[in-house]
């Protein structure tokens, strides 16, 4: 350790050593590690008025976590079905959105990498990026306009005679899933595109030459090769979907909640920060578990996921 410091100093000189060390220490500890630890600490405490904080009543408790499972103390015995359902629904919906994105993005990524050339390919890549830089809220807003009772889609369906009454896409969460799927398309396409692009075309040609039908070429050659990209894309999309807040707030039906919305409520209207922290920790733990599972099952490194 001390030799490392002396080497580090020797290599960077005084001013740079100080800049590098201070920046990294500030980032790692003040911005990343300590806030997470404080949040975790906070999640094990009672919700106290400011005057009592640090006082005799400020002791550790598991009640915030128990609440997630059993509900409030009054309703003892039964489970907190509301929150548990929302939690499960969020995860299942996130998986569904991830699979939906994978299904539509894989062909596009492959097409971009191996069928589009030169200017056209560049134009396509650029036009993939453009929607991504439009504000998240505005993207959700666009879907709200599209799927509204008098929106383009309802009007079209009525005009075409498929519907005679406007269908409430928002109440039925169709708008929400379409909007969530839309929001993270780019994060699915680019990792896949990057891996597929480096695949040698000759491998595909060779497989075709051996009489393989196109679906088998993909199943046996392209997909195994693109596995790190697919894993990375799926992980990112899942995490962002499960952690999304804006789209569920804007596109979610009145009766359906997203898990992040419950957290948000604990902080804003519920005014119970420790409870919210506990829920945030649960979300965080779920996401960490998901990443670890993905790394284990698909045998990829963390560096390959976060790029």
């Amino acid at each position: 350790m001390s030799t490392w410091i002396s080497n580090f100093y020797h290599r960077n000189g005084t001013a740079l050593s100080i800049f590098l060390l201070l920046s990294v220490l500030f980032w790692v500890f003040i911005l990343i590690v300590l806030p997470q630890l404080f949040m975790m600490d906070f999640s094990f405490r009672h919700n106290l008025p400011p005057a009592d904080i640090g006082g005799a009543k400020d002791v550790y408790t598991l009640e915030n976590y128990q609440y997630m499972i059993y509900g409030s103390a009054q309703s003892e015995g039964s489970y907190n079905t509301v929150d548990l359902t929302v939690f499960a629904r969020t995860l299942i919906a996130a998986i569904f959105v991830t699979l939906f994105d994978l299904a539509i993005c894989y062909p596009i990524a492959f097409y971009l990498a191996h069928s589009a050339y030169g200017g056209a390919a560049r134009l396509m890549v650029l036009s993939l990026i453009v929607p991504f830089w439009v504000n998240e809220i505005l993207r959700a807003f666009a879907f709200r306009i599209m799927f509204g009772a008098t929106g383009v889609i309802n009007n079209f369906l009525i005009w075409a005679g498929i519907l005679d009454q406007p269908y409430d896409f928002i109440r039925n969460d169709v708008a929400l899933y379409a909007g969530l799927g839309y929001a993270f398309i780019l994060l699915m396409i680019f990792p896949i595109y990057n891996t597929v692009e480096s695949l040698d075309r000759n491998q595909i040609e060779a497989a075709r030459d051996l009489g393989s039908p196109w679906w088998r070429i993909h199943w046996r050659v392209v997909i195994p090769y693109a596995k790190p990209g697919i894993t990375s894309g799926c992980t990112m999309v899942f995490m962002l979907t499960a952690g999304a807040l804006a789209a569920p707030q804007i596109l979610g039906g009145p009766s359906s909640l997203w898990f992040t919305q419950i957290i948000y409520q604990w902080f804003n209207t519920g005014n119970n920060w420790p409870q919210g922290s506990a829920y945030a920790i649960i979300l965080l733990a779920t996401c960490i578990a998901f990443v670890l599972i993905m790394m284990k099952v698909f045998k990829v490194k963390l560096g390959e996921i976060a790029r």
């Binding site: 580090f8 000189g13 740079l16 990294v24 500030f26 911005l31 666009a142 807040l245 804006a246 707030q249």
Partner: protein
Amino acid sequence: MRSETFLKISVGAFVAAFFAYLFGPLIIMSLTAFNSSQFPRVTPWECFSVEWFDVLINDAKLMNGLRNSLVIGFGVILIAVPMGMAGALMLTQVGRRVRPWYYTIVISPILVPGVVLGISTLIFWDRMGRMFNAGYDSIFYDGIFLTILGQATFISAYAMLVFIARLQRFDPAQEEAALDLGATHVQTFRKVLLPFMKPAIGSAAVLAFLASFENYNTTVFTILSDETLTTVLASKVRYGINPSISALAVIIVSLTLVGAVVYEILKRREQAAAKESELVARGKVEKRRRQSPLFLDPAMIVAVLVFIAGTGTVYFAGTIGLEECKAAVLAEKRAKTERAIKERQTKEMFRQAAPTTPDPYAPAVEEAPKVEAKGTEGYRSIFAPSTLEGMAGQESEEQKENVEAKGTEGYRSIFDPGNLKGQAGTEEKKP
């Protein structure tokens, strides 16, 4: 052979459908900004109008949010870019055993949900504030400060990834060469490493700003009592919508498009320059003096002209003949409403004798003459159509939106006088 054609057609159809999914919502949203209708929609099309842009610019809340967003964006650039660079440089220097741990920690903010980052930042600084006994007006409770830190936590990781990619192409021997030639460490950093990193610094700064500008999940927790553009937008969109938000979308989409075009032009120039210098090195051609400056690039000139012409055309089209068109639409609607009222009156006449239940439309009907009187004043008539529509019972959704708007936090809706001030040009009236 036939199956191949079939495959080709279906691939083409799929790509087309995909891009329709990608652009359809944005195009439709953009179009709604130019429809004079009170509710953002394309059909029925009323009048081509740019008045929603006026509404947008005169929305004090949005403009305040925009100002905060810009401050935060630049704050994040100032913190995240140097920190990301320090993080990337550190990665090249930490020991082999520490490196995976270090990398996991600094990359984790990208994977951690934004809400978690926001909450942890909020709690950490709240605790710090308590520890130092700081008041609520201190920096520990400053929404902008907290938001900058909260966003910098993960945006630094984005910046770091940009720098790592660039550093992979850096030959560390260059630093040693500079030192060996007598440069100090700071000189080496400034004259060798920084110039090499310059493009990456540019991209990281743009990326940091954009990521900060559109961030919602972290900001909504750390911003406290302040507001940024996104949080204002979000509350607007949640509690009642009008096409001025579409107008904002049009501006953002066009800025993005302009950015994309400029980027493309820059990239082409870079490639041309690289090609030329390669030929020079092989002795095939003489070196040309210099590339023409960017603003003289033909592609750039064309792009600027198209942009100016487009904006101008849209602006004139959106103002000329607007009043006539609106008057016509209004007249048509009024006629429709009158028909509806008459029909109802006729019906009621038939039901005279029967005990009447309170008519939910009654108050609105009473309001109608008042509106008609005002309608002569041109722009104020904006008030009218929606009232009439609501009364006519055609716009259930719009009505719902408005009711919702009224019900929640007294949020500004189309009925709000504050919204009218843009068109009416009256003095600011806070609700």
